[in-house]
């Protein structure tokens, strides 16, 4: 199985508003796939459908060959999710939060503490392992939420704006971690507003506007096709935001 994620005609509507409109794409094993788009483009809605938090209205999607409409609970065993909001438990310590996640994901009992402590070390949180989550800074909360998503060694990792709120060092460390995970064969589905980050990390990106995919390609090809030097400029051209930006710049 080469394609880890397969999406055909996936659609989501809320009260007449189409948030995701018949999107089609595939993500290959070990690929870092960027899902880019302005606010309200449908990026988070797509991730919510993949992770069972929202049901598609139309279309099909499968992860690791398993249909999201019929066996979502089974799929959840193999995926890790970092939502847009850092949503661990305020009243639990960093270590207890990770141990609780390990229990839910059936990490073998003998491995739970070891794995949790390894992750705390990776994210430089080991000195605060006994502090309550609510006492953490925004960046530390983000880091622990990412650590929680990795506790069961997922095969596919969904990252929704993972570096928002992280300081430069933590963001850099996360990028290194993403590169390491890719080398280990983990497939990564990433949404980000930081196009430089996407350019640096992603093997391919999809550009989504108003629920529709306008382009899917490698960052290099997108830049070449649009005759732009950066992914940000290419993104502006593809999404049609370029004239808007130029007008703002002219008005300065």
């Amino acid at each position: 199985m080469n394609s880890i994620i397969e999406v055909k005609g996936l659609t989501k509507r809320y009260n007449g508003f189409t948030a995701v409109n018949h999107i089609n794409f595939e993500v290959k094993k070990g690929e870092v796939f960027g899902f880019l788009g302005p606010n309200g483009a449908g990026k988070t809605t797509t991730i919510r459908m993949f992770t069972g938090l929202s049901k598609p209205k139309e279309g099909k999607a499968s992860i690791l060959g398993l249909d999201i409409n019929s066996v979502i609970v089974q799929i959840k065993k193999y995926i890790g999710v970092v939502p847009e909001i850092s949503n661990l438990y305020d009243e639990l310590t960093a270590l207890d939060n990770l141990l609780f996640m390990a229990q839910l994901y059936d990490v073998p009992k003998s491995m739970r503490r070891k794995k949790a402590e390894e992750l705390l070390k990776t994210f430089r949180l080991n000195e605060r392992k006994d502090s309550l989550f609510r006492t953490f800074s925004r960046g530390m909360k983000r880091a622990l939420t990412i650590a929680a998503a990795l506790i069961h060694n997922p095969e596919v990792l969904f990252l929704d704006e993972p570096t928002v709120g992280l300081d430069v060092v933590a963001a850099r460390s996360l990028r290194n971690l993403i590169s390491n995970l890719r080398q280990q064969g983990v497939t990564i589905f990433l949404t980000t507003h930081y196009l430089e980050e996407a350019d640096l990390l992603c093997d391919r990106v999809a550009i989504l506007v108003k629920g529709r995919i306008l382009a899917i390609d490698t960052p290099k090809s997108l830049k070449a096709k649009t005759d732009k030097k950066s992914l940000e400029e290419a993104f502006m051209k593809i999404t049609g935001l370029e004239p808007e930006v130029l007008a703002i710049e002219k008005g300065r």
């Binding site: 609970v73 305020d90 639990l92 059936d106």
Partner: protein
Amino acid sequence: MWEDNLRGIFYIALKDIKTYYFKPPAVSWGIVFPITWILGFYLRNPGSFEELVPGLIAMTILFSTTAAEAVVINFELRLGSLERLLLAPISVAAVLLGKVLGGIIFGFVMTTVVTVASVVILRLHPNIFYLILITIPSLFVFSSLGALLCVMVKEVFEAQTLLNLPRFLMIFLSGVVYPIPKMPLALQYFSKVLPLTYTIDGLRRSFSIGLDKTVFFRYFNSHLFFLSFYYTGGKVALQKV
């Protein structure tokens, strides 16, 4: 699959008990509040302890099982941490049952304390078998009722307000403080759809007032209430996902 769900139910309940229950606000709602209420009514209108204690136990069941559910469900919903549970490889029904089980365990401990203390101090002789037969399913009923009401709204304050509606309605209309036969006929009929009516009646029978096998009817009735509340709660929760 069912092993995953069972594991999830257990750990969610354990986490909730550790995090939210057995804290001053929950203990206050679960035990201090019912004792104060019952004592207040007793002092105004003294009766036999066999009449009083079942009311106290019923109120403890009602208040302790629902004491922290607004926090356990709605607070986590607002913070997004409930979503974290929905991302785990367990069903939505298992997540809800985990939440309900936390209330059941807390309610069981509170009810046991109140019952044992009352029986020992007041030297009562209930039928322990009937008492357990009525208490256990009642814990399930009121915890699932609390969960159902909490999943219907978003905010903690909305859940607290909504929870108080059936709580106080049942205190006055289920025979805890005022005998049902003395109520107007319409209210007597209405009391039959309130689950606390069956709990209080069953508990009174366990305390030897008209001890008979109809207690089994109350036992099965409680199961029906639990199943309907839990099923509806699960449906509402699924719609909200």
